[in-house]
Symmetry: C2
Subunit: 348 residues, 2 copies
């Protein structure tokens, strides 16, 4: 499926967790250069950023965050700094890729244009109500298989596109330690809608979404006790994705996963082992998932903002008694809806 | 993942809708020859079957069906004759492939061993409770991604494996007519568990299942008014798959889709156009799917047999008033549980 992608409707948001972004930007030049790029510097990062010329870049730093938001209970350090970029973007769509990822190659050796693939995912319909065994029915050469009801073939709007990663897969620290030599080499040439009611772990590594619609639910809500600059330390994106899926399911929107791939640089297994010392993410997910599997939003939450407020209330009621970090997550979710109203809910 | 496949645990079931099975058997020889093959001849087919030597084959004909079952309300003509093979098999697993399909080649040019791939799908766990973005977590080189709860990483037993088709895709007659020159060339190298609660159109073209467990739900239940020998004329497999998914969801079993592919011979678009004259499958699915999306079995149906009886009752209550063919489907489902008890529920 071919879609038109206008420069004026997409921002690229990059969280800078390391100072030298030159190799990153050079590699992405063919795909990023026509778009406005928002770089949000990790507030914990002291060194000056190196960004090559030839891009329409705006860098936001700790002082920009403090200046715009003042006192806020939301912690924008580490990977969470990218969410500030979502807030200051004025575009309909946002694409965000981690700064340790480069363009991947497909099995034919062609460099993957992750921007265009994300936009195809977002601009073609999603089909959450029935699974199409031939994957994306709108893709060239594909269609709906026999038995697919005709009344569902229009699909619904896709609000989030979760891309994948070759080489260093997105594992938790235990898996990184145990499988330190394993690399993901399997390029699966498919995009699919995640069915209604099915939960998935959305990774923030390589993600795109409709910011105008989904903005109020794209927050850094859950922060585990000790977070570093490694993906394996975080659950903010997983929590964010589960919240977004609940909201999309509730409002009849779709979410896709699969293409595009990015090439992700090596993990450092030794550091993964270190971070296990303080890591409580394992236990958390075993509480979190049953919660999300059973949560049902009322029919009153007809906006994303309304759904988030309701969901935050249910988190506070049901999960917060189990662990105080869920109370903080609920605080952050409510705070985010206010920040979004004041700062995010504006388009170009 | 490597699994051991014993000759004594698998039957291949082939519905013979055409007399000359020589090219079919010759092509499948490397993969079928070590297994017992059950050929069920379409009761409507008059000509004698041609099957090459070198196989452990047993052929069942109209007189075998009548002799074993006597008077039955179930119609075993056309594609539905394969279900008789499920009944007379004495093995734990059954693999069934349409007689117009040959082994496919993977992108590296290797001929696909569909038997082994189906058995890998069935013998490795399924993960219906949370979607793994890297697809099958048990596959070599893959694992569960970050955020996947550890308590769910054991998975559950996989009861059905739905394979796919290259070249001639499994479309309804309208799509065959409209896209008469389109061929499926996209080999997606993935197997995935269809999530809990998500419905899918299981095609009977290339399918495998745990016969010992799932047998009571592997019936030809729904027959549309005018069925021929073309897949596009039938909904029996789609209905069967939806019933099987409901039962698997209710009992905590898994169902997978994806690999293996088979190569399917061309459709005849002219004949597809012909069959549209009497085809009511389109309207039916628009009633059927909402029914399956909302049906919930009680916790009393703790066996597949119990679930089927309960489901048949709900079909009779909710769907039969809309169209008499649903009453016939409910009859066939109940009849099948009796046939299975008398003839199917025996192992080697």
């Amino acid at each position: 499926m071919t879609v038109e992608v206008h420069d004026s409707e997409v921002d690229i948001v990059i969280a800078a967790l390391q100072p030298n972004l030159t190799p990153f930007f050079e590699a992405w030049k063919p795909f990023f250069s026509r778009f406005h790029v928002i770089v949000v510097k990790d507030p914990e990062l002291a060194a000056e950023l190196q960004i090559p010329s030839g891009f329409d870049v705006k860098v936001y730093t700790k002082s920009d965050i403090q200046g715009l938001l003042g006192a806020t209970s939301i912690n924008f350090s580490g990977h969470s700094c990218r969410y500030f970029g979502y807030l200051v973007s004025r575009k309909k769509y946002v694409i965000s890729i981690d700064d340790n990822c480069l363009p991947a190659k497909d099995p034919a050796g062609m460099t993957v244009d992750a921007v265009t693939q994300h936009m195809v995912n977002l601009k073609t319909p999603a089909t959450p109500f029935f699974f199409n065994t031939l994957y994306d029915p709108y893709r060239k050469g594909a269609d709906f298989v026999r038995g697919y009801p005709f009344s569902l073939r229009e699909g619904v709007e896709c609000m989030l596109s979760c891309g994948l990663w070759l080489h260093n897969a997105d594992y938790d620290p235990m898996t990184h330690v145990v499988k330190r030599n394993q690399r993901n080499t399997n390029y699966v040439d498919a995009v699919m809608t995640v069915p209604l009611g099915a939960m998935l772990p959305v990774s923030g590594i390589n993600v795109a979404f409709n910011r105008e619609v989904l903005g109020p639910v794209m927050f850094p809500g859950l922060r585990i006790r000790k977070e570093g600059n490694h993906r394996w330390d975080t659950l903010e994106d997983i929590w964010n994705g589960l919240c977004a899926k609940i909201v999309c399911d509730s409002l009849g929107y779709g979410m896709k996963t699969g293409l595009p791939y990015v090439m992700r640089s090596d993990a450092e297994a030794g550091k993964a082992l270190e971070s296990l010392k303080d890591w409580e993410g394992v236990k958390l997910m075993d509480d979190v998932l049953p919660f999300f599997q059973s949560v049902k939003l009322s029919r009153n939450g007809v906006t994303v903002d309304g759904c988030v407020k309701e969901l935050a209330g249910i988190v506070r009621e049901k999960l917060a008694p189990k662990n105080p970090i869920f109370a903080k997550a609920a605080d952050a979710m409510e705070e985010w809806t206010k920040l979004w109203k004041s700062h995010g809910a504006q388009s170009a």
